[in-house]
Amino acid sequence: MENISPPIQSSAGLASMRLERLNRLLFNNYPDAIYTIGMDGAFHTVNHTVCQVLQRTQEELIGQSFQLFIHPEHWEESSFYFKAATQGLPQRYQTVVLNGSGETIFLDVTNFPLKVGSEMVGIFGIAKDITVQKEREQAMLRTTQELQRQNEELELFRKIIAHDFRSPIARLLGLGRLLQKDNLQEKTQQTALVALLQSAQQLDGMVRDLNQMLALHHQGDEPREKCDVEELVQLCVANIQQEISSAGATITLAGTERLELFTVKAFLVSILQNLLSNAIKYRSSERPLEVKISLRQLGEEALISVTDNGTGMNLDKIGPSLFKMYKRFHQEIDGKGLGLYLVKEQVRLLQGRIEVASTPGVGTTFTVTLPMHL
């Protein structure tokens, strides 16, 4: 036994020497970032990859607190994990750092407690750059969300076809069958003929609306341009001048502030025009219609509100249905019911929001908030 022992010891010494060299080689050339950090949180040693990831030289890093390079949003958790590692517990977590160019880098970090004898002297860690992976994950998430949204839309279209399109079709079928009867009264026949044409026109209008809406959803990359809201309001007023005159409406622009947005012009025009048309459609028969459009900038947002003195609505009753497709709330008014849905969708595509306040018998205010720069 004693004969064999010495060679084993000497070969163990050799192995240990090799391991030390191997360690140094690995430390310097390992493709992931490897570092040691003292109990004070300052870098003690860093390998080449740490310098590459952070875009700093060794001199810039050693002696500096690692916290300086962590993304501010992750300060709290990274100091928590650091503390845990210095208490003797290995840690694995993901974090975000900022490199020399200020870019965000995602890291998968493993930190081990570092002891000399029984004394804790700091941590030893490996960090893997997972930025590409993270970006892929985020792109995947965006795609998933977009798919979900499109699926919801598909379900919406199914409902439109099952409910809304079926309605004028059922009338056309029924009226056709009624008109085939030979013992119809003259008056009934006349009513049926008029209704037949009306139903066909309604169906035509719905097909056109749906076409417009589908086209809207295919326009993801419209050019953004500078839009002077006041000019656009005037454009809308000119577009629907006939409706305005025949309703005897007065439209005023309040707010002297010049409001210039960088956004999709066609959508903004459509939003304004639909809100104006809506005000005209739901005007009160008791007083001449007055519509006030006010424009305001609030920080990085533009506020456009359209206030009318029309019939108003009971929002408690209507609530979430207001912006839905083909919903009508006034029996005496023949609305296609698509206007507000289009407004809501366009506001959404412009990354804005729309709010409504209304009092029955007094009037309604729609307020559209849009980012100044899209």
Partner: protein
């Protein structure tokens, strides 16, 4: 030819209704039902239903309600006071209506389900093709059936047959 058609149609109807050929009284048939409610916010659709029913001599009296709330105002007191003779024999109820839709209408009537079942045939008459609607309708046991718009002669005759 026309007379022949009318006659065949009307005899067939009476035959189906169990009255045999004796029930046929020339071109003019006696309406089977006293009174019918048509509840539909769509004026054209309500007109159409009434005209089709009238052409089949379905009832003596048709009450059309463009606003379901008006129909409830008529119907609820009759149900509450159990005035069976004034309760309409048949109700055609549309589904998609503003303010009060067909479902809300049914929910309002639900407490009177037993009386409705024995005094009145309540049909949902809708243009909807949504199968979910049919499934949902099955939960209302006092509903006599789910009918597709436009109402057809065949269906009307079936209803008369059930009377």
């Amino acid at each position: 030819m026309e007379v022949y058609n009318t006659c065949v149609r009307c005899c067939l109807l009476y035959f189906e209704a169990g009255g045999g050929q004796n029930g046929c009284v020339g071109d003019k048939r006696k309406p089977m039902f006293k009174s019918v409610y048509i509840i539909d916010d769509d004026e054209v659709s309500a007109f159409l239903t009434e005209a089709m029913l009238a052409a089949e001599h379905f009832a003596r009296k048709y009450d059309t309600f463009l606003n379901p709330q008006d129909a409830l105002q008529h119907l609820l007191p009759l149900l509450q006071q159990d005035q069976r003779r004034s309760i309409p024999d048949v109700i055609f109820l549309d589904l998609n209506m503003p303010y009060v839709d067909g479902w809300q209408f049914l929910d309002t009537l639900a407490p009177h389900a037993p009386l409705i079942k024995c005094s009145c045939m309540l049909y949902m008459l809708t243009s909807s093709l949504d199968f979910n609607d049919v499934r949902r309708a099955q939960k209302y046991d006092f509903l006599a059936g789910f009918l597709q718009k436009p109402i057809e002669e065949e269906t009307i005759r079936d209803l008369l047959h059930k009377a």
